[in-house]
């Protein structure tokens, strides 16, 4: 009896001394739901601006169509002109890269960098935290003006590009910051989503800033990282024909 009492008080004391958030198992599904469009297609124009440490800037403009319920997306590059017509098509687990010069499709990896920026091709996928990750730790933190839950995630699917991810989620269940770690725990990429835009009843990021933590240079005594800024404009929820998500469509629009 005495032993049980001691154990109970020790437990209470540990909660008082080391307060922590209990892990909310449903939060990942709620995050995914906030930015997924399962009842229609989502389309938008992405302006991707990469700034190398030291200053050189390169810009790409792409148009993206996504059908979240079927896990499809099509990305067509509009700029720079040298890459115009190049595109990516994801159908199920297959990702194809179309080269308009050679007029050929090659199988490619979603974990590749997009146009040599810090954006990965997998970033065009619909948010899928609930299926790819499990929460291993949760705490609270203020991120600028946002009160956030900080979730440490570990991958449970091979399709998840990063083995470990830390996300800052604001009260509206919108991801405001992400840190992507390699399997060995090295911080590879930091992503901030300062602004969202409302599209239908859901949300889509408006600006995304990605810092490549592996690409840095010491410039004038200050460490500068490669920074990619993505601005998403002209969001649309127009239902697109099935033929949009096909190789033939990519070939046709590339002409």
């Amino acid at each position: 009896m005495n032993q049980s009492r001691i154990l109970f008080f020790a437990l209470v004391l540990s909660f008082i001394l080391f307060p922590c958030h209990s892990v909310d198992s449903g939060i990942l599904s709620r995050i995914d739901a906030m930015v997924s469009f399962t009842d229609t297609d989502f389309g938008a124009e992405y302006l991707i601006e990469k700034r190398d440490p030291g200053g050189s800037i390169s810009t790409s403009k792409v148009v993206m169509f996504r059908r979240d319920r079927s896990r499809l997306f099509l990305v067509l590059i509009l700029e720079p002109s040298v890459d115009t017509g190049k595109g990516y098509l994801k159908t199920g687990d297959s990702l194809w890269l179309y080269d308009p010069v050679g007029k050929s499709f090659t199988f490619t990896n979603a974990k590749e960098r997009f146009e040599n920026t810090s954006v990965r091709i997998s970033d065009f996928n619909a948010s899928n935290y609930a299926e790819d990750y499990r929460v291993v730790a949760q705490s609270a933190e203020k991120l600028g003006k946002f009160d956030c839950d900080v979730l440490s995630l570990e991958s449970i699917q091979d399709s998840a590009p990063f083995a470990k991810v830390k996300i800052w989620v604001s009260r509206e269940n919108l991801v405001r910051k992400t840190e992507d770690y390699s399997l060995s725990g090295l911080l590879m990429r930091t992503t901030a989503v300062p602004t969202y835009q409302k599209v239908g009843g859901r949300w889509a990021p408006y600006t995304v800033v990605i810092i490549d933590n592996l690409k840095s240079k010491l410039i004038s005594g200050k460490v500068e990282y490669e920074r990619t800024t993505v601005t998403i404009t002209k969001p649309s929820l127009r239902v697109l024909p099935d033929s949009t998500y096909s190789k033939e469509y990519l070939e046709r629009v590339a002409r």
Partner: protein
């Protein structure tokens, strides 16, 4: 008697024979140097390729059709089993190759993609890697490193990264499960490599296993090396037959594409593919064959010129010795003996000249080995430590020998036949 006479005639007419012998000697030396250089270049290239592709014969293990899942569990045991059961094997050792094209070295904000990463047991595989030319550091530095957090990078990669020996570089790659992983490795050596086999980095086998999340003791390949003179195609078949006694093995496969085709037909359990080095070098072999063909065409023209020289010299010799031949015929020497005498002289002369030619070719090997070709970019593919490498192929040398002897004897045959037909009376009248 004829043998003695022929020898005496050569000594007596040494001035006449000298220039013919010199031409034969130079011809043989040229043929030997060119073929030695060609075979040496091929050998140097194969040495580099064997480091890059995993041995003269590569044993690859698969348990599903996905190339990136290539794996041999307990590779050490299998390597030992092969080395024990096949006497022609000089070395069988596990290698771990990262075939993905997304491995990236990062240092000081610069990145460089690596065409492949090769995990090596440096302590046991030292001999095969001793051919690497280091511009900084050495093989011993990485072999001594007990932490195994080290890497050898190419000069091209080091130049882009502005990295030196002792710098910590970050290696980023995908695990076999497809997730990003990274490691910090100390550069222990920077080596020169040609662009064909460049943008490769070598690191300890266990370290690459750790980074790709492969089990300890696993490898993608077993690199098999044969004793000198063992053809890799024959060795591959020996390995295939030996493996097939206890394991499932694909039928003989000549190229990497054939392996991919075999994989595409379906794999559900552990299966092995045995690929000779030539399977990865078919294009290079074609280039070398073309080079040899051009060289031998040039040599053929040279031999023809030498033959004309021999023919003319023997004509003069036969003419000058008309009286001598007439006397020999008058005292009873048969026509066939006169013919044999001249032919023996040609044979002796060619043998002596070839011997001199062989000595000259070795002198040529020695002199040319001092020439530094390291600054010529494409030459690195065919050189060892930036210098020309020569290898005498016994079969080709014997062939060169017979070609030169035959050329001399054939060139001498016409004048010799003519000399044997000299009428003794007419010859003696001419003297009178």
């Amino acid at each position: 008697m004829l043998f003695f006479l022929a020898f005496r005639n050569i000594v007596r007419m040494r001035r006449r024979y000298f220039f013919v012998a010199l031409a034969v000697a130079l011809g043989f030396a040229m043929a030997t140097i060119v073929s030695g250089a060609a075979f040496g270049a091929l050998d140097a290239m194969k040495g580099k390729a064997a480091r890059y592709f995993a041995g003269e014969v590569s044993v690859q293990g698969f348990h599903d059709p996905i190339r990136s899942h290539q794996r041999i569990e307990r590779a050490d045991e299998l390597a030992e089993e092969l080395a024990r059961n096949i006497p022609s094997i000089r070395l069988a050792i596990p290698r771990n190759i990262y075939y993905g094209d997304d491995a990236t070295l990062i240092f000081g904000g610069e990145t460089v993609r690596q065409r492949r990463l090769v995990g090596v047991d440096f302590a046991r595989d030292a001999e095969e890697f001793s051919g690497l030319s280091f511009v900084e550091g050495s093989l011993a530095d990485i072999t001594r490193d007990a932490s195994k957090s080290s890497i050898l990078i190419s000069e091209a990669a080091a130049s882009i990264l502005r990295a030196h020996v002792g710098d910590d570089v970050t290696l980023s790659l995908l695990t076999d499960r497809g997730q990003y992983n990274s490691g910090t490795l100390v550069v222990r050596g920077i080596f020169q490599e040609t662009s064909l086999f460049g943008y490769v980095a070598y690191l300890p086998l266990d370290t690459l296993n750790l980074l790709t999340a492969r089990p300890v003791g696993a490898a993608t390949d077993i690199a098999v090396y044969g004793h000198p003179g063992t053809l890799s195609i024959n060795l591959a078949e020996m390995v295939r037959v030996e493996l097939s006694r206890t394991h499932t093995v694909f039928p003989p496969l000549a190229t990497k594409d054939a392996v991919d085709a075999a994989l595409a037909s379906g794999v559900s359990a552990q299966v092995y593919a045995v690929l000779p080095l030539e399977g990865n070098l078919s294009q290079m072999q074609e280039i070398m064959s073309a080079f040899l063909a051009i060289t031998y065409t040039a040599l053929f023209v040279f031999v023809c010129i030498v033959m004309i020289g021999i023919l003319n010299t023997f004509r003069v010799i036969a003419h000058e010795r008309t009286t001598e031949v007439g006397t020999l015929r008058a005292i009873g020497m048969q026509r066939s003996s006169v013919l044999s005498l001249f032919m023996l002289e040609a044979l002796y002369m060619s043998l002596a000249a070839i011997l001199v030619g062989l000595v000259l070719s070795f002198l040529g090997f020695g002199l040319l080995s001092f020439v530094d070709l390291g600054r010529i970019p494409a030459a690195g593919l065919f050189t060892v430590h930036g210098k020309m490498h020569f290898q005498l192929d016994p079969l080709t040398t014997v062939l060169d020998f017979f070609i030169m002897v035959a050329a001399t004897v054939v060139a001498a045959a016409g004048p010799a036949r003519k000399a044997s037909r000299i009428d003794p009376a007419a010859a003696l009248r001419m003297e009178a």
